[in-house]
Subunit: 147 residues, 2 copies
DNA sequence: TGGCGAGTGGGGAAAAGTGGGGAACTCACC
DNA sequence: GGTGAGTTCCCCACTTTTCCCCACTCGCCA
C-alpha cells in the first residue's frame, strides 16, 4: 500500500466539511472501507488514520495498563479526541467542531499526506510551524535518517 | 470490537439521568446487552464498563487472594461502588447518588470514551485534571508508546 | 469542444439529545 | 391492613443537529 503523499489547500464549508484530494483517496487501502479515524494530532493539527491503520493503533492502546497513571492519561487524551468518519459520496469528510477548534481551522484547510496518515492543518498555523522549526530540511534529514 | 471514542458535555437532568453519546452506544458489543457496570473510577470520575468487559474484570478481581490485606482492601473498594445500569429507550443511564456525589457532578457531565470503558466527569473536575497533569500530550506519547 | 472527474454548496429527512408526565412499586407511618 | 409520600421506571413530545442526497461549476483530457 502506497503512503499518502502531496498537499493541497482546500476550503472548509459552513458545515465543517473538507474534501480529501483524489490522489490520497486512491491511495486508500480497500480494507479501510473509505473510513478514517480522526484524532488530535501531535502539534496543532488533526490526524486522519485509515481504518486499517487505526486498528493497529488500537491494539497498542488496548495493551496499555489501566492501572498505570500515565498510560491512563495518554489513553484518555488520544481516545477522547478520536472519531470515526466516512467519506461522503463527494469524497469529503466532516470535521468535528471540537477538532476544528483545537486545530484553529477556519474556512481553509491544508491537507497533507504524511505516509501512514493524512494531516489537516490551518494554513496559517502550518506556515507558522514550518517557520518555527529551527532545523532546516537538510539538517533534519541528517539527524533523523542518520546520513 | 472498536474502543470507545470521543467526548461530549451533556446535561444531567433533575432525575440524575445522562445520555450516552450515540457513537459510543454503537460501539457497544451486543453481548453487553445495553448494560454497564458503573463504579468509582481512578481519578475523580465514574467508570462505565460494558457488561462483557466487566465480566473479565470480575475474573481478575476474583483471582486475588483473600489472604492478602491489600488485595482485600482493593476488592472492597472496587466492589462496594459497583452498580449495574441499563440504557433506557432514549439511550440514557441514571447515575446513583453516591457516584454523583463522589465525582462532584452537578448539572453537566463530561462523557469520555476511554477505550474499554466510558468515563463520566464533572466538567470542571476534568478541566482541573487536564491542567494538573504535568506532561503534555506529545511527551506522554513518547513515554507511553515509545514513539 | 464535449465529456468526465474533481471540488463546492445547499436543502430536506432522519436521528440524537432534552425535558417532563404518569403509572407502578417501595417503604414508613397511622 | 390501609393510606400517603417518595422513588423508580417507562413512555411521549419537542428541538436541534447530523447525515445523505442532489445540483452546480471549473478545469483537464481526449
Amino acid at each position: 500500500m502506497a503512503g499518502f503523499k502531496g498537499h493541497a489547500e482546500y476550503s472548509v464549508d459552513s458545515k465543517g466539511r473538507v474534501a480529501i484530494p483524489a490522489k490520497m483517496r486512491s491511495a486508500l487501502n480497500p480494507d479501510a472501507n473509505s473510513t478514517f479515524t480522526m484524532t488530535r494530532g501531535f502539534d496543532k493539527c488533526v490526524f486522519l488514520y485509515p481504518l486499517d491503520r487505526w486498528k493497529e493503533m488500537e491494539e497498542e492502546i488496548g495493551s496499555l495498563s489501566t492501572y498505570d497513571r500515565e498510560a491512563r492519561a495518554f489513553t484518555r487524551r488520544i481516545m477522547m479526541w478520536a472519531d470515526e468518519v466516512t467519506l461522503d459520496s463527494q469524497g469529503r469528510i466532516s470535521l468535528t467542531k471540537q477538532l476544528v477548534e483545537f486545530a484553529g481551522i477556519k474556512d481553509k484547510a491544508m491537507i497533507l499526506g504524511a505516509f501512514d496518515r493524512i494531516e489537516i492543518w490551518d494554513p496559517e498555523a502550518f506556515e507558522a510551524y514550518l517557520n518555527e522549526e529551527s532545523a532546516d530540511y537538510e539538517t533534519l534529514a541528517e539527524k533523523v535518517m542518520g546520513m
